[in-house]
């Protein structure tokens, strides 16, 4: 055991010395500990409180905050982004999304889109699979309501929420782009992965020998 570990194990809140050695050092330790503890609380007393008055004042959301789900419009054409492909419905683990597809000539739409937010587990899988960035997460956690039925979100509600809050950083296409490995060095990646498998048994043997030698020495 090194001296660093010794110190860590032996460290007492009263400093490096343990209590119960002799009277005067103990008393000195006690007094210094008392002074330090009270000094810290005194400093805190004159600091500004860190509390944020939540409903009145809102903390700035972090960049990657993922909150309530919403549907989006295309900003240029003002068309809904959702094409009713039902990928989100298939991937949803608690199965809270229900989509009906509406087939038209040019592109498809969602005829109905319901999301049972009271059972949603905010896993973000629906956002990750969405091919058109139609469903995204918003920067808001104000989901409390007095009536459970208000958490059954239909298409209109989801669109409203999309206009109401700031969108989160993550969109389906953005996330997929991030996770796609770069194409050029993809072939090189395969080789080094296979190599470290060979020397492993030798290392184990060497370590085993070393352990035996140590055991003999003791």
């Amino acid at each position: 055991m090194g001296p660093a570990l010794d110190r860590r194990l032996g460290a007492s809140p009263l400093g490096n010395r343990q209590l119960g050695q002799s009277f005067w050092p103990d008393l000195g330790n006690l007094l210094s500990a008392v002074t330090r503890a009270m000094w810290i609380t005194l400093l805190n007393l004159f600091r500004k409180p860190v509390t944020v008055h939540y409903p009145d004042v809102k903390r700035v959301y972090p960049d990657r905050f993922r909150g309530v789900l919403a549907l989006t419009y295309d900003k240029e054409t003002a068309e809904e982004n959702c094409i009713g492909c039902r990928l989100c419905e298939y991937i949803c683990p608690p199965q809270v999304i229900k989509v009906e597809m509406l087939k038209t000539e040019k592109r498809n739409f969602a005829k109905t889109f319901t999301l049972e937010l009271y059972a949603c587990e905010f896993c973000e899988l629906c956002v990750q699979v969405c091919p058109t960035d139609a469903i995204i997460m918003m920067k808001s956690f104000d989901l409390a309501t007095g009536d459970r039925r208000e958490l059954l979100l239909d298409k209109d509600r989801l669109h409203t929420i999309g206009l109401q809050f700031d969108p989160s950083w993550a969109t389906g296409n953005g996330l997929r782009d991030m996770q796609t490995p770069p194409k050029a060095p993809a072939a090189e990646h395969a080789k080094p992965a296979a190599e470290p498998a060979k020397p492993a048994p030798e290392q184990v043997k060497a370590e085993g020998k070393a352990a035996k030698v140590e055991g003999n020495a003791e």
């Binding site: 008393l27 008392v34 503890a37 009270m38 810290i40 609380t41 005194l42 805190n44 007393l45 600091r47 500004k48 409180p49 860190v50 509390t51 008055h53």
Partner: protein, 331 residues
């Protein structure tokens, strides 16, 4: 006016003032504690949470009063009252300004110390009558602790008595006519006695770091775990009244009572200064409370019997020597 009626009226006023003070002292403590932890504390009820104590009191009044099925009913119901009476009674001897108090006894401090130690009877009744293992363990610890700490408490409080040469509280206050003669500024002896008084006060009031009798992690809420509603409120009231009373006594013994600029001419100003000093002592105790963790039972006993008791005894003897050397009074 007959003196009995006078005492009755003054007693009535003091009693109600204490109850009003207790409710607002809880707010003071909560705000103060919050700031020490970088919080704000009660804020929503009224401006800056000023109506919070009233809301709390209303809540306690409306709570259901539950008596455990296997409790000793009479003892259980009587305990809060028995606990509250000594805590209120100790205010009787406190003079709040020259000649202004319920009864300025010539053995005032003796009465104060004796009656304030009596609260343990109500405490033990509550813990025993609840028929609850946590409550019983809690009061056992309480008795243990009060026996250990009342001696240093009395010895520390005796130092100003020796310096003054009187047990009468108004005499002790009169012996500290200006800031330089406050007993806390008496060389060496005064400071040590004040520290000993504060530590013993913490222990006698069962406040952190000496709160083993209501150690939440071990004993739920200690001896009042079975109490609810108004009975719980009475116990809380008694505890805070006791804390305030010892704060007043500390201010009187060491901080010159009602002495302050302009207090000689105006009694109202004197009362105000006294209140201010008592609140200072209360905040000092609160400050200690929110700075430390709870210490173990054996450590509590060791601090009392191995450190505080010998120290206060030596201090008392040293004071006696000093007084014999200098003459009885400073004034």
């Amino acid at each position: 006016m007959p003196s009995a009626i006078y005492s009755f009226i003054v007693g009535f006023i003091v009693l109600n003032a204490i109850i009003g003070m207790v409710t607002y002292v809880t707010l003071l403590e909560r705000k103060f504690a919050a700031r020490m932890q970088s919080r704000i504390g009660p804020y929503r009820v009224g401006p800056h949470g000023l109506l919070q104590p009233i809301a709390d009191a209303l809540k306690l009044m409306m709570k259901e009063d539950i008596v455990p099925r296997l409790a000793d009913r009479r003892v259980y119901n009587l305990a809060p009252v028995v606990f509250l009476i000594p805590c209120m009674l100790i205010f009787a001897t406190l003079p709040f300004a020259p000649g202004l108090g319920v009864a300025d006894l010539n053995i005032g401090i003796l009465f104060f110390l004796a009656v304030s130690a009596m609260e343990i009877v109500g405490l033990f009744m509550g813990g025993w009558g609840s028929n609850n293992k946590y409550a019983l363990l809690s009061v056992m610890r309480a008795v243990n602790q009060i026996i250990s700490y009342d001696l240093p408490f009395v010895f520390a409080a005796m130092v100003p008595v020796l310096l003054t040469g009187s047990l009468k509280l108004s005499d002790i206050a009169a012996a500290q006519p200006d800031v330089l003669h406050w007993f806390v500024f008496y060389p060496v002896i005064g400071q040590l006695a004040f520290v000993a008084y504060i530590v013993a006060t913490l222990a006698a009031e069962n406040r952190v770091p000496f709160d083993i009798l209501e150690a939440e992690s071990e004993l739920v809420a200690g001896f009042r775990v079975e109490y609810s509603g108004m009975k719980f409120a009475l116990i809380q009231l008694g505890e805070y009244a006791h804390v305030i009373a010892t704060s007043f006594l500390g201010a009187l013994l060491f901080l010159g009572a009602w002495d302050g600029p302009g207090s000689g001419s105006s009694a109202t100003l004197g009362v105000f200064y006294f209140l201010l000093k008592a609140m200072f002592v209360f905040l000092l105790v609160t400050w200690i409370r929110w700075s430390f963790v709870r210490i173990r039972v054996d450590q509590i006993l060791a601090i009392s019997w191995k450190l505080l008791l010998p120290a206060t005894l030596v201090l008392l003897m040293a004071t006696a020597v000093v007084v014999a050397w200098n003459g009885p009074s400073l004034g």
